[in-house]
Subunit: 303 residues, 3 copies
């Protein structure tokens, strides 16, 4: 016992030192999305700001190839990827045509525990629905702005969003420190929600699966099931640009592209379990001149 | 001695604690390659899955700009980069036109100790030769698949490959846990190997060095040496698309581009020590309409 | 006291062990820039080399989309981003049309404490001015070259620059170990500096803000202030390609794009606080066929 006392004290002190060094402490991921493209130094400036906040931060890119000013696509890409990241992950999305104007800078915490740092311009339209809004705070730029950046009016992505997102992910600040709770609702872009009427499903052509030219809609599996279709059944599809019919055709509903011969169209549920259309080894969008966004709608029924 | 005993015990216990905290433990690199492009959220979904497996994983990108469905180029890019990474590195390559079909999902361990997680569709054609096959296992999707992803048939890159690759790199599973040893040979694309006959070297135009338009072949240094050429000698080069002659010309064999005036063609050994052709400060591929892949072959002889 | 002595010794020994393990030691960021593009495996080969030097290195990309051989743009992107990274950060820039020729390979330490690893071909033109030169060393390739890479003459980015940059960032070598202090001045591209004469500011069109088509010049805030302009004033702008007038027009000087209606031109100070021109929600460069680089100059005066 006489020997054991100092040994136990040493043990406890060693533990305290270890925890204060905290080398395994969990930082949250910081994920960037912009419309800056990759030819520019702007993304690297943002990451430099974040690295300066905490060199141990783990940074990732969602995409920097959002078409310039395309808020809808920014909203879509966030929704496509965010749910695959753990709670606590911080997304900084900068598609910001109104930079320097009166538009608000906000951080939304979703019910799923993800954080979204962004101008309040519609970018949160889809994650607000899919992940739910827990709380929204307006960024207080008096506290949450890169030092000595006050003279810059056109790059809040670097001066406000990257800086605030990095401090949040690194736990330099808590969510409360972002600023006051927002009194106003987050701005949402209007679009046609998925639904079924008269045995016909309808919805929006959310996006073109760019690399392959597949058509991705917002008609989810639960909505689609109401059509009582099984793999191998034929479906009738119509696609409209505003009210103008752009495609009218039929195809097999399969599980994957390989369910039809090469060059043939196929309907399927995509990797987000939403109704989609492809041409096996081809581009449906290119062949039929289909684009995407809130103006593009679709109807689907059993043949 | 009476004092030394507790001191040494404390020393040993401190060491044990340190190693159990394991803050310097080596994770293996996880390197992604796809044909998804960077405009999409798909790569970020894969990385989110991997990050959820282990937030300390080090992730890198080989390229996501493989032309859609181009398995040959996927095979080439793996071969170009893999050897520069240390043993234990895990490569996840997803160029997968047959997703959802009967094609197998495999992990190959090379003799060099690298791991390749991929659909078995020819992607391993070149690394199987250059690095050698140590063992191939078929991914058992009952154990190695993202939870609750069974309804998704079109994104094995996220649900199976990223998930399995991340668990392997993070040592959550061992190679044995991937699944059974493959009873079948890995699929390989046919192509003309490098060789010499009648004082003429022959081989395949593996790839265009895209940014500069240089022609890269699979004629390696050892094969090329049999022509007994020295820097400054002239070579005769013929390039064929299938059997059709597309280029017939002569040029100097140099060490680097600067060995000829701007605008002039030069033959050289590229950074992988393979026979190549460039135009100094120009694009040989654009000027002479040369493409690449198993259908494009080349012959080289001394002038 | 008899008990306390071994305990304190254990405490000190534990501390020594902890610091020698050094698990929270600060590695410096390693930031890559090239003209290789992202379709290639070359960037991944460079990162593999760096990862092999030290798997804990934090690696980032400035851009790999510098137009092939465009040294001016490489110089610009470094200048745009470097100052946002902390002192100690190591930038590896490889735009290297003279690879394999007699051009020197150097590492510049700036007065700001940043390191730049690059061929000495003009890439340092702008950071040499903005950050200042502390010391330049010529890379001694006998010591600082990837093992067994001597037969490769065309990829110093991988064999020399990535390897040396990684060892510097990981503190495997000190700056002194790079090689001898350079006896010659760093190569700088000629360009028109910003200035004011006859109440007219002049300078260079440094770059097109590619994604949006904005015109960015090197006329900094201090120079611009000499025109005594306030937000809302009108400015006269002329842009020249060499001596040829390419644009002659007037516009409002605003704080941000939203200060003018959509489709209208606006002058402003950009995120680097330099005089710039945009069309709100449009592309000034595309509408007026403006390009950038040392040959493109601009004059600005109050209307």
């Amino acid at each position: 016992l006489h020997e054991l006392l100092p040994l136990m004290k040493g043990f406890i002190i060693a533990l305290i030192i270890l925890f204060s060094f905290d080398c395994t402490a969990q930082k949250n991921a910081l994920v960037f999305q912009t419309d800056f493209g990759l030819k520019d130094g702007a993304v690297a400036a943002m990451k430099g700001v974040a690295y300066s906040v905490d060199p141990d931060l783990r940074m990732f890119d969602l995409t920097h190839e959002i078409p310039a000013y395309n808020i809808w696509e920014a909203a879509y890409r966030l929704d496509q990827a965010a749910a695959y990241w753990p709670a606590g992950s911080v997304f900084v999305s900068v598609v910001d045509p109104g930079v320097g104007s009166a538009r608000r800078s906000i951080v939304m915490k979703s019910k799923s525990g993800h954080y979204f740092v962004t101008p309040d311009n519609g970018t949160l339209t889809l994650v607000a629905e899919s992940l739910g809004i827990a709380e929204v705070r307006v960024i207080d730029e008096r506290k949450n702005r890169l030092a000595n950046s006050d003279s810059s009016y056109t790059f809040h992505g670097r001066d406000v969003y990257a800086y605030t997102g990095a401090r949040l992910a690194a736990a330099v600040i808590n969510f409360d420190d972002v600023g006051q709770i927002s009194q106003d609702a987050v701005i949402r872009l209007p679009f046609q929600r998925a639904g079924v009427s008269d045995k016909t499903a309808h919805g929006t052509v959310d996006i073109i699966d760019v690399q392959y030219g597949n058509i991705w809609t917002n008609i989810d599996r639960e909505t689609f099931r109401k059509l009582n279709l099984r793999a191998g059944d034929k479906v009738l599809v119509r696609i409209y640009d505003e009210k103008k019919l752009k495609y009218d055709g039929e195809m097999i509903f399969g599980k994957t592209f390989a369910d039809v011969p090469e060059g043939q169209p196929v309907a399927y549920l995509n990797s987000l379990l939403k109704f989609s259309i492809a041409i096996n080894m081809g581009s449906f969008a290119a062949v039929h001149n289909i684009e995407s966004g809130p103006g593009w709608t679709i109807t689907v029924s059993k043949k």
